[in-house]
């Protein structure tokens, strides 16, 4: 087979390198020897014979060169030579290399730093085997839907329905829900974060215990503790397995210690205990499970995500939900990487995308900057390039070599960027900027930095390489001084204009978001959570009807109010800052246009709620005793909803419609952060009187007098509930806390990043202006010298240069402003209280740009004006 032989020959040629050279030498030597012998035999003198033979053979080197070309292993040798040359060139021009590498480092560093955040928040998988096979199940609904950081919460019965119907795609579907426990061990009682889980929880995750044995499906008498708790609380006691601990009064034996680093299915809510839900149920004597759970499963072997996704969706549509007015649109599977699920994940994703986009803009500015520098340096290397082309270097060869130099720069800059990113991560950790989120860079981040570096090298290296290697050999060699072609000058102007456009775009966006953040932060929490204890009770499982339920709740309120240390008691359907239930809502005002908003948080509250949590009323009134069954249905909305539904009008007295009922607005409360969606902007929110609209599950909000111990109140609440009905469970009892994750304050983070990047961007562009201007001045110094010698005043000499730079600046700024308006229009949903075109922001951004440009131009222009004709002309 010829191709096999050919392949073998090719491979041998490619790899043999030096041996092939030696053999070629030998072959040619043989040939020449034979020629000499032939001529000697014909009678020629030996020395003459040798001379003739050599001539007839031709240039040996040329032959070898042709053979080498034919060999095909050329590129490797060339590449190594290029690299060596690039290193030498970089070392020779240290100042340039340092500057360029630094600028690249800033760009790559910024982007990598943001990616580190993205990695920690969205990409990092759980520390379990084969984490890519784990998926969380989220439902999409019309109407009432409960959402939280962990995704969609579903009732336990629904979990069972899913579990039983998806055995063909999942090797296991588990459920979990994080709760707080009062833990008593070794005489001490503390509040800890734990998880109620289905029996197959650990089986699905496939983690292995550090000690003991995990509980399985049929065990209901077990608890697993985390590795950290084992060390901190139990002193790493090897005999901890078998010990009994008390959770909310229930005695459970410790059966296992989790492996180090495992903190549950959401690293942000560090869980220290895992309890099978059946154990909790047994403790509270309940016969059915009303707990809301979060589902996740592991794909079976060979099952694709698409298949499982389709099945889950079908099951979701098939099983009707229990909640009234709630229709299931479908369900889908979601990756379990990162810290957020469901709606929250989408929101955080958008936020991080914006920050990453801003960082990418900074990187682009850095690339344009270095491209300008390379282009300018290319002009001064015209001679060298021309000579090389004259002796036969192909353009492609030259471009390859120039790109190698760029790649080297990019590599140095990239390494610097990684260092900057790591330093940034260290700073953020020291400043506790991200709370419990672990932002150390890992392999994925390094891989990203490497890929980014390669892209960067091409971005800033290609155009200058093309420019520099342009065929203008004769012109460049003829002229003594290096004169840059006007075409490359245009390229440099484009680079500068581009930088200015991007920089001003960033500045404007930063300004808008800072403005928006200020507005939003003035909104604040909207109520006072300190000193409030919450406890949730659900009467559903006990089968209470409305009459019995109301009786229970009023007795509960009375009983808790009687506890010592209690200042006021209120009931609300959901705990503030907890999960929420959102519905669709319309305004129905005859004469006006109908507005519609979906996902409006809706909470049934009693009359004492607003005063207990200290939520201020800005218009109208709160609920009173008159808002009862039979009276006209009323509602209270928040400022944002009022503003969106009835812009510029009084909301009080208008009507809204939701869940098939129409209500009249009687009051407006201040905007605040009521639910975990603190990530977004103050959402629409509506309150209804509990007296008019009943709910089975209500949360007590109890404001305590100062110095009252929350744990005692919780105990008291449990006592009251037990006295009313020992089979009603008290869930999630504890102080109304603001989890650290909310302290992320995404808006603040966004403004911080954007401002930082905006300033860096404008500084870089200023540098670009300075560099280009200096270059132009230096280029035309001869011309300036002549004009000055002929009597032109200093300032007129530079006017053309200044005019050109100003024109570039204006064009760049103009493009940037337009681009920023476009970007702001796309992002306006994230801007609170700020219009797309904000005169203050635009003005300040333009002024900053102007100032930077002026400062950057100052030195070169002054130098141009001070040109000494004698010096310049003599240097020719």
């Amino acid at each position: 087979m010829s191709w096999v032989e050919g392949l073998r020959a090719r491979a041998w040629l490619l790899l043999s390198g030096r041996k092939a050279e030696a053999r070629m030498d030998e072959e040619f030597r043989f040939h020449v020897e034979m020629e000499i012998q032939k001529r000697v035999r014909e009678g020629t003198d030996p020395a003459e014979a040798r001379r003739q033979a050599m001539i007839s053979f031709g240039g040996v080197e040329r032959h070898k060169e042709m053979m080498r070309d034919g060999r095909g292993g050329r590129w490797l040798g060339d590449f190594l030579r290029d690299v060596r040359f690039a290193i030498r060139a970089a070392a020779k021009d240290r100042g340039f290399t340092f500057m360029a590498a630094l600028i690249i480092a800033v760009g790559v560093g910024a982007t990598t730093a943001v990616f580190t955040l993205v990695n920690a928040v969205l990409l990092r998988p759980l520390p379990v085997p084969a984490p890519e096979r784990l998926y969380a199940l989220t439902e999409s609904r019309v109407g009432a839907v409960a959402q939280s950081y962990d995704g969609t919460a579903l009732p336990y019965a629904r979990y069972v329905a899913y579990r039983d119907a998806t055995g063909s795609v999942f090797s296991g579907l588990a459920a979990q829900r994080a709760v707080s426990f009062a833990l008593r061990a070794g005489g001490q009682t503390t509040s800890v974060r734990g998880a109620l889980t289905s029996g197959n929880y650990f089986g699905v995750l496939q983690v292995h215990p550090a000690l003991g044995r995990f509980f399985t499906d049929d065990e209901d008498d077990a608890v697993v503790i985390s590795n950290a708790m084992w060390r901190d609380r139990f002193g790493a006691d090897p005999g901890v397995v078998g010990r009994t601990i008390w959770l909310d009064g229930l005695a459970l034996p410790v059966v296992a210690v989790a492996p180090p680093g495992f903190v549950g299915t959401n690293p942000m809510q560090r869980v220290d205990l895992w309890v099978p839900i059946v154990a909790a149920r047994r403790a509270q004597g309940l016969t059915s499970m009303a707990s809301w759970m979060f589902l996740f499963g592991r794909l079976g072997p060979g099952v694709s995500e698409a298949r499982a996704d389709a099945l889950v969706d079908a099951v979701a549509k098939r099983v009707p939900p229990n909640e009234p007015q709630s229709r299931v649109r479908g369900a889908r599977l979601e990756s379990m990487n990162g810290l957020f699920r469901g709606d929250a994940r989408t929101m955080v994703g958008k936020l991080l995308a914006m920050i990453l986009g801003a960082a990418a803009l900074v990187l682009l500015i850095a690339c344009a900057n270095v491209a300008g520098m390379l282009s300018a340096r290319g002009v001064s290397r015209r001679r060298e390039v021309a000579i090389r082309r004259a002796i036969g270097a192909g353009r492609g060869r030259l471009i390859r070599q120039l790109l190698t130099e760029s790649a080297l720069l990019a590599l140095i800059g990239g390494a610097g960027g990684v260092l900057i990113a790591e330093a940034g991560a260290g700073l953020a950790k020291a400043a506790d900027l991200f709370g419990t989120v672990d932002v150390t860079p890992d392999l994925r981040v390094l891989g990203f930095a490497l890929a980014l570096t390669s892209v960067t090298a091409v971005l800033f290296g290609l155009l200058p390489a093309l420019q520099t290697s342009r065929p203008d050999v004769v012109g460049s060699l003829k002229d003594g001084s290096w004169r840059g072609g006007t075409r490359s000058g245009t390229g440099r102007s484009v680079f500068v204009a581009g930088q200015l456009a991007l920089a001003i775009c960033l500045l404007v966006l930063a300004g808008l978001f800072v403005h928006s953040f200020q507005r939003a932060s003035n909104v604040a929490l909207g109520y006072d959570p300190d000193g409030v204890v919450v406890a949730t009770t659900d009467l559903g499982p006990r089968g209470y009807d409305e009459a019995r339920g109301r009786a229970f709740y009023s007795a509960l309120e009375e009983g808790v109010r009687a506890l010592p240390g209690v200042e006021s008691v209120a009931l609300a359907q959901y705990a503030l800052l907890g999960a929420y239930s959102g519905n669709d809502m319309r305004n129905t005002e005859s004469g006006g246009d109908e507005r519609y908003e979906s996902g409006v948080g809706q909470v049934r509250v009693d009359t004492a709620f607003l005063s207990t949590v200290r939520m201020p009323i800005v218009a109208g009134r709160g609920f009173t005793k008159d808002d009862v069954r039979g009276a006209p249905l009323v509602a209270i909305v928040n400022e944002s909803l009022a503003r969106r539904f009835w812009p510029g009008q009084r909301a009080v007295g208008k009507n809204v419609r939701t869940m098939g009922k129409e209500m009249r607005v009687v009051g407006v409360v201040r905007d605040g952060r009521y639910d975990f969606r603190a990530i977004g902007l103050p959402a629409g929110f509506a309150l209804f009187p509990f007296a008019q609209q009943y709910a089975r599950e209500m949360t007590l909000h109890v404001r305590l007098y100062p110095h009252t111990r929350p744990a005692e109140i919780v105990r008291g609440i449990r006592g009251v509930v037990r006295s009313l009905d020992p089979d009603v469970a008290v869930q999630d009892a504890g102080p109304l806390s603001v989890p650290a994750s909310r302290l992320l304050e995404p808006q603040r983070l966004l403004s911080l990043f954007l401002t930082l990047f905006g300033l860096v961007g404008i500084l870089l562009s200023g540098l670009g202006v300075f560099g280009t201007l200096s270059f132009q001045v230096a280029q035309r110094s001869r011309e300036f010298g002549i004009r000055v010698a002929l009597g032109a005043p200093g300032h007129s000499v530079v006017s053309s240069v200044v005019r050109r730079t100003a024109a570039v600046g204006v064009i760049g700024a103009g493009i940037g402003l337009v681009a920023s308006a476009g970007a702001a229009a796309v992002l306006h949903r994230f801007l609170y209280g700020v219009g797309v075109v904000d005169p203050l922001t635009l003005l300040s951004a333009t002024l900053i740009l102007l100032a930077v440009a002026l400062i950057a131009s100052f030195v070169p222009v002054r130098r141009a004006m001070r040109v000494d004709p004698v010096v310049v002309l003599r240097a020719e």
């Binding site: 087979m1 032989e5 090719r10 032939k38 032959h63 053979m67």
Partner: protein, 111 residues
């Protein structure tokens, strides 16, 4: 023919000449150039600058292979020989060359 045009004409057919020469017996590069010269009664002189690249080309294409051996003077030399596919290619090349020559001849001999 002037030496220049002769070289041009030769370049296209050198592969053919090398293959044919090697079909007679395996030999080294110098031997090939001598044999071609001899067989063509000194009309065709193969330039070393074309011969060795042609040999490399043919080897890369798998039509010939090489191997180091000793000459009768006990010198080391690289010997080339035809492969099976080289033999096949030679046959095809001769065919197409003959067809070409015949067609050329037909055109040129039209009165």
């Amino acid at each position: 023919m002037s030496p220049q045009t002769q070289a041009d004409a030769l370049r296209g057919s050198i592969d053919l000449l090398v293959l044919k020469t090697l079909s007679l017996e395996p030999m080294h590069g110098w031997g090939i150039s001598q044999r071609i010269q001899q067989l063509s009664s000194d009309v065709l002189e193969v330039n070393q600058g074309s011969l060795y690249p042609a040999l490399q080309r043919l080897e890369k294409a798998g039509l010939i292979t090489s191997r180091w051996d000793t000459t009768e003077n006990n010198r080391r030399a690289r010997y080339y020989r035809l492969t099976a596919s080289g033999r096949r290619a030679l046959g095809e090349e001769i065919e197409s060359w003959r067809r070409f020559a015949t067609a050329l001849e037909a055109v040129l001999s039209t009165p």
